[in-house]
């Protein structure tokens, strides 16, 4: 990133381009300015591999992420754990370039999606966020929109036809495990759903644009245990179609849902490994101390 963008901080403050009107795409695509059109990425089980190479992120003078190099493999769930302020959310927000939306924030290093540098100047940031969806801590449906309109909000920017919107909306609601609960009230306001349903609505909204990667930042922290378990079950199903990266403070949740767990401390990556090993016999003493609750 640095070599191609010597003024990276400027890159981060560039205004977000308006989404380009184009023919509806049945699949994730990252458009590159200057090319003849959206660049379709290969589909299949090996799509959605994310690589971080020496990623650093700052908020002004605060060096929040320090030289992290890490792979997120396709069709796997990776959990990021660590105490508050360790940089886990910042690192994840760098993957879909949300970090740069914050005033004074900057990043350096490389974020690659299937080998494509997401910080390349030729890359359309909107396409990045279409390929790398995100679900936040609190459900954030558009309050005035219906359930269906919420799900298809992102799709409409692509100029999809009404029929296609309905088809894709239905598909996304099924994928988010919400269809049976809302099929009779698709026109009702999304804000009228329960908290857990609203969060799955947001997941459906992210899925509707067929991302390759789904980032989840504390997706269950505002939900009750039943709604939490539904989301966790959903995560297990979602990994068949998207790479899932979940930031969580709940270590039991990480243990339940993740194939791979990453432990961060002080902005640095301390240890990454198979979840069962991380929670039974971690290599690093700091991981041991954290997962056993000896500090937090």
């Amino acid at each position: 990133m640095d070599s191609r963008h010597p003024t990276q901080s400027q890159t981060m403050t560039e205004p977000t381009p308006e989404p380009q009107a184009s023919a509806p795409q049945r699949g994730p695509a990252i458009s590159i300015a200057g090319s003849s059109g959206p660049r379709p990425l290969k589909k299949g089980r090996d799509v959605g591999n994310v690589q971080l190479k020496d990623l650093n992120a700052h908020y002004g003078a605060n060096h929040a992420v320090r030289g992290v190099s890490l792979d997120f493999d396709a069709d796997r769930v990776t959990a990021i754990i660590g105490p508050s302020g360790c940089g886990k959310s910042t690192m994840v927000r760098c993957i879909n370039r949300m970090h740069e939306e914050i005033s004074g924030a900057r990043a350096s290093g490389q974020v690659l999606l299937d080998g494509l540098d997401l910080y390349d100047k030729a890359i359309d940031v909107v396409a990045v966020r279409r390929a790398v969806g995100m679900v936040f801590q609190k459900p954030n449906p558009f309050p005035t929109m219906s359930v269906l309109d919420n799900v298809t909000a992102g799709l409409r920017l692509t100029g999809a036809s009404r029929g296609e919107l309905e088809d894709r909306g239905h598909e996304a609601l099924v994928g988010a495990g919400l269809w049976d609960e809302v099929k009779d009230r698709l026109k009702a306001p999304g804000a009228g759903l329960s908290g857990g349903q609203q969060q799955r609505l947001c997941i459906a909204r992210a899925l509707a644009v067929e991302p390759e990667v789904l980032l989840m930042d504390e997706p269950c922290s505002a939900l009750d245990p039943v709604a939490t378990l539904k989301i966790e079950e959903l995560i297990g199903e979602l990994k068949q179609r998207v790479t899932v990266v979940i930031v969580t403070h709940n270590m039991q949740q990480a243990a339940r849902v993740a194939d791979t767990t990453v432990f961060m401390l002080g902005g640095e990556l301390v240890e990454v490994g198979p979840t069962d090993k991380m929670f039974t016999n971690p290599d690093d003493d700091r991981t041991e101390q954290y997962v056993t609750g000896k500090f937090g």
Binding site: M251, P282, G293
Partner: protein, 229 residues
């Protein structure tokens, strides 16, 4: 970030339960000491006391076992804590089994009656085995408390001595002659020797749990089904 210590009550409870489980080894050692005395003296009353006192060992097993299950259910232990709890559950089972072996020996003493031992040499061997088994119990406890894998591995060597004494008992039993009463006595003593040999094996099992707690890998020190060399 400055880490702050947390979960002190949970850690204290875990330490208390470990101490309580390991204290069970002292209870077993005492039971074995009395068992050996009962064998040597053909003391039926002392044997009955050991049998009755096994309820205390069983009670310790149930109490600590339940508390460990509660910790698992409520505290979601992981990493070393999880391995420790898993190991303590094994230790408890071994303690309970060692106590039962003492009971098995003591229940056989009335069978041999209040008559003088038929073969003092065999009694001497059994007492020697019992003393060695008690040393193993003590060593297993020290190894666990100190997380000392080398000391734990040494239990295998000490156990070999118990096994050798057990084989000596078997040879003596074969040579004891044709008298039916003496043969019956020898068979009873052989069962007692076998029980002591199992107690020593239980101590080695505890040693294997020490290695598991420390390394995170469970490996039998010696595989009975595939003995080395």
């Amino acid at each position: 970030m400055t880490p702050t210590e947390t979960r002190t009550q949970y850690q204290e409870e875990l330490e208390r339960l470990e101490a309580s489980a390991l204290d069970g080894l002292d209870m077993v050692s005492t039971a074995l000491q009395r068992t050996l005395e009962a064998v040597e003296q053909q003391d039926v009353e002392l044997a009955q006391l050991v049998v009755a006192d096994d309820d205390r060992i069983d009670g310790r097993y149930l109490e600590v076992h339940q508390s460990l299950i509660t910790l698992l259910a409520t505290q979601s232990p992981v990493a070393t804590d999880l391995r420790l709890i898993s190991a303590l559950l094994h230790v408890l089972k071994n303690v309970e089994r060692m106590g039962d072996q003492c009971v098995n020996i003591c229940k056989m003493i009335p069978l041999s009656g209040n008559e003088p031992p038929a073969d003092p040499e065999m009694v001497k061997l059994i007492l020697s085995m019992g003393g060695q088994a008690r040393a193993l119990i003590s060593q297993a406890k020290r190894a666990f408390a100190g997380r000392d894998v080398e000391l734990a591995r040494d239990l295998v060597i000490q156990d070999d001595m118990v096994d050798e004494l057990n084989r000596d008992c078997f040879r003596l039993a074969l040579e004891i002659g044709d008298d039916a009463d003496r043969r019956e006595w020898a068979m009873t003593m052989l069962l007692g020797a076998r029980a002591i040999e199992r107690i020593a094996d239980n101590a080695v099992d505890i040693g294997e749990q020490v290695a598991f707690v420390v390394t995170g890998l469970f490996r039998e020190f010696e595989d009975a089904s595939h003995p080395a060399g």
